[in-house]
């Protein structure tokens, strides 16, 4: 009797669960069905803005509206957090991705392009024609399959930042920090004044790569650096060790708490006149402007000084951003058309009209309105003939962050261990899966 009841009760439970589950599924099918049919009927294009807050939304709206006005195709835009998008990129691209989005050149587009997640936009780059400099197109090309998975749009320089007034105060000319010896002299004098001479914050592990990149390029040249980051040269080579000898010279001039602060900790040091120089991407000038115009006018950026005459200052870290198209989006052709529009003169002008302060690679980009610091940024970019994208885009993703970052951290903590650290780095590179 009671057993029978038990059986019944189990059925009731199961039935309840089934009804609940079916209800859920039906509900979802209903709501999703309407959404998907709507986007399939019209040839709408979906667009993702990577960060940027209200300004980012405004820029996307301006460009996409201009596209709609020109072609009559509606663009549905959304904004996502830049880090979240980057960290979940593979899953997002395999799920139901938006058709076009801002993305990064280098390993991050080449790798996902090869994996079949990004669409080939070689034809779109060709259509943009002469407005794109050959170097930018070259930089956007996957060296393996020679296809392009990104339409290059903007970039920014990594350079040595300092305050002109502080350099004058120690009796040097802020316009002529051009040689390694100048930098050493500047740092020594700054240190004598009781300040941090070379601001470093490497809590996240990527910040010090900027210093390493440029030192290696200055000492051994662009080609060796790229070879090293892609396994064609060794971390245990004498040439690599030479770079680390220069790196070791910088360490006594750094703030001892470099493991505790982020890049913005360094910026605060410079903003508060507590450090002499800082090697960083030039993206924070607005923070100086926000403090006062005087502080902004005081800020200066120069190419990292020359070390080896053979290479001069011919190389710079200038990460290139652009527009990519999802291969598994619902409207790949529409995405390509929209991506091309973002790289065209009309698109660029619409973006700048909406408050975009980025430097575009396009020759159609008008820089006549630039102030002194903006012009200097362009000059720094123009000084180099080889463009690196930063170690974490020039090398594979499972090497830069997880292996090189910690290696640089332990080197700065204990520079005497350099040989062991480099051996370790090389061994870890060799242990990576070949793909």
């Amino acid at each position: 009797m009671s057993e029978e009841k038990n059986v019944l009760s189990r059925r009731t439970v199961l039935k309840g669960a089934a009804i609940g589950g079916a209800g859920l599924a039906a509900g979802s099918a209903l709501s999703a069905g309407t959404a998907s049919s709507a986007s399939a009927a019209g040839a709408d294009i979906h667009w993702t803005t990577r960060g940027g807050g209200a300004t980012g939304d405004a820029i996307a709206k301006a460009v996409n509206d201009a596209f709609t006005a020109k072609t009559g195709t509606k663009v549905i835009a959304q904004q996502v957090n830049s880090d979240d998008f980057q960290n979940n990129f593979a899953q997002i691209m395999q799920g139901s991705p938006d058709d076009a989005f801002g993305w990064m050149a280098g390993w991050r587009s080449n790798h996902y392009g090869e994996a079949g997640l990004l669409a080939d936009v070689t034809a779109q780059n060709k259509a943009l024609g002469k407005s794109l400099p050959a170097s930018a197109v070259q930089a956007a090309t996957n060296p393996v399959d020679k296809k392009q998975y990104i339409i290059p749009t903007t970039y920014y320089p990594w350079g040595l930042h300092y305050r002109k007034s502080m350099v004058k105060k120690i009796g040097m000319n802020p316009e002529s920090i051009v040689h390694w010896d100048d930098l050493i002299k500047m740092m020594s004098l700054t240190k004598k004044n009781g300040l941090v001479a070379y601001a470093m914050g490497d809590k996240q592990g990527w910040e010090a790569m900027g210093t390493f990149d440029i030192l290696n390029a200055r000492v051994n040249g662009y080609k060796y650096h790229i070879d090293l980051l892609n396994g064609r040269a060794k971390w245990t080579d004498a040439k690599t060790k030479e770079t680390f000898k220069y790196f070791a010279q910088l360490i006594p001039f750094m703030n001892p708490n470099f493991m505790d602060i982020d890049w913005d900790g360094c910026r605060d040091l410079l903003l508060q006149k507590m450090c002499g120089a800082m090697m960083m991407g030039s993206w924070f000038a607005n923070d100086f402007k926000a403090k006062s115009q005087k502080d902004y006018d005081d800020l200066w950026v120069v190419p990292f000084p020359e070390i080896n005459k053979a290479h001069g200052i011919d190389t710079i870290d200038a990460p290139l951003d652009g527009i990519s198209v999802a291969a598994k989006g619902k409207n790949v052709e529409g995405g390509k058309a929209l991506a091309q529009f973002w790289g065209s003169k009309e698109g660029i002008n619409a973006a700048i009209g909406a408050g975009d302060t980025n430097i575009y690679v396009s020759k159609d980009f008008d820089t006549s309105g630039y102030d002194a610091f903006g012009k200097q940024k362009l000059a720094v970019l123009g000084s180099a003939k080889n463009i690196m994208f930063f170690a974490d885009r020039d090398s594979r993703g499972d090497f830069a962050g997880p292996i090189l970052g910690p290696a640089l951290q332990s080197f700065m903590k204990n520079p005497k261990n350099v040989n062991k650290i480099l051996e370790n780095t090389q061994a870890q590179w060799e242990a990576l899966p070949k793909n």
Binding site: L8, A29, S31, G53, V80, Q91, W283
Partner: protein, 295 residues
């Protein structure tokens, strides 16, 4: 007599000293706990420029509510709050419903596999959710493709609700079953004798008695699901469908993050749970001690 008085006094002094120590300790710990929150409030009232120009520990030059005004403007708070409610309310109701059903069966009836069933649900609780992320992701896509609509579960509220229910129902079962064990067997027996069928037994007899436990659990679960960020991030590709925790991510830039604005946003996003806690404080504490006085 006088001896006793002295002893009493000694005892009282001793007690006083002990109380003093305890108060001191509680004070220190309370301060340690409350300090980050106070610091967040302090940070949220200062302009960003003030902090980066003069340092985090500098004396504030300006104190105002501008960060709150900007945060509300930037966060699109209405959309995200609605999303949070769309996800949280059905998740909590379904979790409690399924949890109580299972708990009812495993405590009111004797099956051989009762203990195993309970263990299974509790053990599932121990699994770190990040481990299950990729399988869940592929399963959602696969189920969607099976029905010809990729977004049936992935990038859909229903999928998110399902995941929350799936991961919370184990804990709900565990708590509800240990609470149900405290309900005397005689009640069930008399219900059966009076001719109640299984569902009536569950719905009209046991469920009303579960009310305090359900109230406590619903408060706990609402807080957890409301604060959840991971699943919403990985299973929703449309930002416009993500919950309030995602609104905070809007305030973080690619390079530059205004931490003062973020602090204001965090306080705004946290306030509903804090208010919920103060309104339902009793249930919350009951929830923490639930089942600890099992008979």
């Amino acid at each position: 007599m006088s001896m006793g008085m002295v002893q009493d006094e000694k005892y009282r002094n001793n007690q006083k000293r002990k109380d003093g120590f305890i108060s001191l300790f509680i004070g220190i710990f309370a301060f340690v706990w409350i300090f980050p929150i106070l610091w967040t409030v302090f940070t949220s009232l200062r302009p960003y420029n003030d902090v980066i120009s003069y340092g985090i520990f500098s004396w504030p030059r300006h104190i105002n509510f501008n960060n709150y005004i900007n945060a509300v403007k930037e966060m699109h708070i209405g959309i995200y709050l609605t999303n949070s409610l769309i996800v949280t309310i059905p998740s909590v109701i379904l979790t409690l419903f399924f949890g109580s059903l299972i708990a009812f069966v495993v405590t009111r009836y004797q099956f051989k596999f009762n203990l195993w069933l309970l263990l299974l649900f509790t053990a599932g609780n121990m699994l770190p959710i990040v481990l299950t992320y990729i399988p869940v992701f592929w399963m959602f896509l696969w189920v969607g493709d099976l029905f010809g609509n990729r977004n049936m579960l992935y990038n859909n509220y229903a999928g998110l609700i399902l995941v929350h229910v799936g991961f919370q129902v184990g804990f709900a079962t565990f708590v509800l079953s240990s609470y149900m064990k405290t309900i005397p067997k005689e009640i069930s027996e008399s219900a059966k004798i009076d001719g109640a069928n299984v569902f009536r037994h569950y719905w009209n007899v046991i469920l009303p008695l579960l009310r305090p436990a359900l109230a406590a659990l619903s408060v706990l679960m609402s807080t957890w699901i409301y604060n959840e960020f991971f699943w919403a991030l990985v299973l929703m590709s449309d930002d416009s469908k993500r919950p309030i925790t995602s609104a905070l991510r809007r305030l973080q830039g690619q390079y530059v993050t205004d931490f003062n604005l973020l602090a204001a946003g965090a306080i705004i996003a946290a306030s509903p749970t804090v208010i919920l806690f103060f309104v339902l404080r009793k249930q919350f504490i009951a929830g923490l001690t639930l089942g600890s006085t099992k008979g």
